[in-house]
Symmetry: C2
Subunit: 434 residues, 2 copies
């Protein structure tokens, strides 16, 4: 990865062309020679890609969903790299100017040569959505590696709104193949967990108020306070890379809950802190995936929670209907969404972070009423959750040993896509300069 280390610091020495993985037609990816991108807007950065991830949602256009095939486009939305160009909005690119003032911190601090990752969709950090934390629905939102915005499976990438979209990694001691998990899948797993854990329907079990139960109800209506010990059951549906990240995040949330340290979801009254134990049901159709996920969980060496958190790895048929307080859906398919709704108990919460392509909602509407189900769908606001995901990664680094199962040069893209689609070999990353 060192061959461009010098050239990257000087603005006149980028090559004219580069290698990039482009999707030409469903199931047809090819390595093409294309122009190196240039700064198009003062907020842009050009990043030299040192590592690019292949993600489950890359498979949607690969399989022909949301891809009209008109023009080939560069794939990939996960990257670790180095800044090689910055637009004039950045202080370091226009010395003496105050253009960065009042803008997101990145415009003042980012410099050529810095190691970075990018959120998988553009986040300006200046619009109303970003400011309220909904960075995945930024008004400038574009998915990296979509027909509208060339992606990361290339040697160089142009990043719009780079003062928001890029995240500095110089100060991190995470190796690139771990850091890249922060571009999408670890925050996405964290988001799946957060949307369940912070939901009001779970609050009463976790010792918070929930807007339903109050002191009047406890004292004057029911004769006995809630049982002091209870078991909460969570399911993770789908044990691909995102599912494993959700599983690790979930265990992390539970350990913090047990230790009484879950501050950001723990804002309610603490009048009746319950004694809790947790059961996790980790579900996948494929035994190989279940075994792989079990291996990662077993790498979490901390023993203190062993008696309070149990994890079972099950095939869908072995899971019990109406048993789960919350279900984390980490696939985005009709069968997994239907299963999730089945597993949730009444007043259960389904947190679905998978990208759905089948338009038909697989659950009959009357069931939603009859079980008082709650759902949270959608794309993870990576930028907002970055620091907390980074903390999870720091605490649970052990879990991710061997997580990137395959590291390949761009030239092997066709085979890598094929194998990944068959769920073979775990998480895949490309090394564009290998």
């Amino acid at each position: 990865m060192a061959e461009l280390a010098d050239t990257s610091k000087t603005s006149n020495q980028l090559p004219k062309t580069q290698k990039a993985i482009r999707l030409h037609a469903p199931r047809h990816v090819k390595v093409d020679d294309i122009p190196v991108p240039e700064i198009e807007h003062p907020d842009d950065a050009i990043v030299k890609v040192l590592l690019a991830g292949l993600c489950g949602s890359d498979l949607h256009p690969y399989r022909g969903h949301k891809f009209d095939g008109a023009e080939p486009f560069v794939k990939g939305h996960e990257l670790y790299g180095e800044i090689v160009r910055l637009g004039s909005s950045f202080a370091s690119a226009s010395s003496g100017s105050n253009k960065a003032e009042g803008r997101p911190k990145g415009y003042a601090t980012y410099r050529v040569g810095m190691k970075v990752i990018a959120t998988f969709s553009v986040s300006c950090l200046e619009c109303e959505y970003c400011i309220h934390g909904f960075t995945s629905r930024c008004v400038h939102s574009q998915l990296l590696g979509s027909p509208a915005l060339p992606g990361a499976q290339a040697q160089f990438i142009r990043i719009p709104k780079a003062g928001g979209t890029l995240i500095e990694m110089d100060s991190s001691d995470l190796p690139p193949e771990t850091a890249i998990l922060l571009a999408d899948i670890l925050p996405t797993g964290y988001f799946a967990t957060l949307q369940a854990f912070q939901h009001p329907n779970l609050a009463s079990f976790l010792g918070r108020t929930n807007g339903l139960v109050d002191s009047y109800f406890n004292t004057n209506v029911v004769a006995s306070a809630p049982n002091k010990t209870s078991v909460m059951v969570f399911a993770v549906v789908g044990l691909g890379p995102v599912g494993v990240c959700a599983l690790v995040s979930l265990i992390d949330f539970m350990v913090l809950q047990i230790n009484g340290a879950r501050s950001e979801t723990n804002n309610g009254s603490q009048s009746r802190p319950p004694k809790l134990t947790f059961e996790i049901i980790a579900i996948d159709l494929q035994e190989a995936r279940r075994e792989q996920a079990r291996k990662f969980v077993e790498q979490i060496t901390e023993e203190s929670w062993a008696s309070e958190i149990s994890v079972k790895f099950l095939s869908p048929n072995d899971a019990v209907a109406d048993s789960c307080h919350a279900v984390l859906e980490a696939v985005g398919s009709s069968p997994t969404l239907a299963l999730s709704s089945q597993l949730a108990r009444p007043f259960g919460v389904i947190s679905s972070v998978g990208v759905h392509s089948n338009p038909v909602f697989p659950v009959p509407t009357p069931l939603l009423y009859d079980k008082n189900l709650s759902f949270a769908f959608g794309r993870c606001p990576v930028r907002t959750l970055l620091e907390r995901s980074r903390e999870v990664l720091a605490r649970r680094q052990n879990a991710f040993k061997g997580f990137v199962g395959t590291l390949v040069p761009l030239s092997e893209a066709p085979t890598a896509y094929e194998r990944f689609e068959k769920n073979e070999g775990g998480k895949v990353c490309f090394a564009p300069w290998a």
Copy 2:
């Protein structure tokens, strides 16, 4: 209503037969002579019905949904009445015994002659669901006025788990036609509002933490704190009786929020209390319903909020897509659910309290991801929300002047059902002893 006042106090003087409205076939209700119910279980009560409501969800079996037509059954799940019999679990029915100890307070305090209402489905207050506030999913849950449990549109009704299901009204100075709103529709409207207001996705706008934005994010990532003034937009879809109750509850929540007194949803950090104004979009297809709803809202005489809360009454076509932070769906139909999803902005919340009978979910699944939508569905836990709904009613009594538009004897049931189905005449109640 006085003719049974004496007999009701003595257990041997109930009549053998009574009048009751039964559904015989779709759109065919009839007043039948049937036996007066008896105590079947020690936790039962027999209540003399002084007023019985006709509710929108009564129309589902009337239209043939969820009704196989095998046996006619007594309709109605809203009642105001007087206890005339109590099973042996009640202290007053078995003097000297301690059977009521450790059980819900009603078993110790309820007496023959007391005025009561009932939650519209059985709530034991002893199971794990009830204790956590999910009383609408009590393990003993049965809907009053369903094939399994004869309903309230009769002169007498048997109430199971009456120590939980009945609510004492002797101490209330609400007139019966107002008190009966607490049996279902006002708590249901309150529930629709609560599920939206307490949702984490709205927290940041309301000055609470939401699990997304934290102090690190505010200080180190975005350059400027959230805008100090903002406008939140809520829609109420459907202005039938439940919709109007949702509208009044919503205004009540907003006034309390403006006054800084929303304690049960206000548990988060108060580090950046925003200056808020609210817009409500109240939507119905029928102009007559919109005008009626406007009349009720205008009866709320308090002027203090006039500059901070605006209410617009619109037909569905005049509402703006992607504009609402939260949508309260108060109908339970495919078109209203589809409209709700359309109106919600990204990261918006749809709180749906209507009873859905169409199995087809009317929103394409990819849109749920693309807009990061959250949903909360289901039956209101009336028992849990009773006291807070009663407070809303006390504060907003003016709104409900003239709310029960039609008060009719049981004998007029066929016409009353027909007119109600056509949305004519507002809320209907039956006076079984008239």
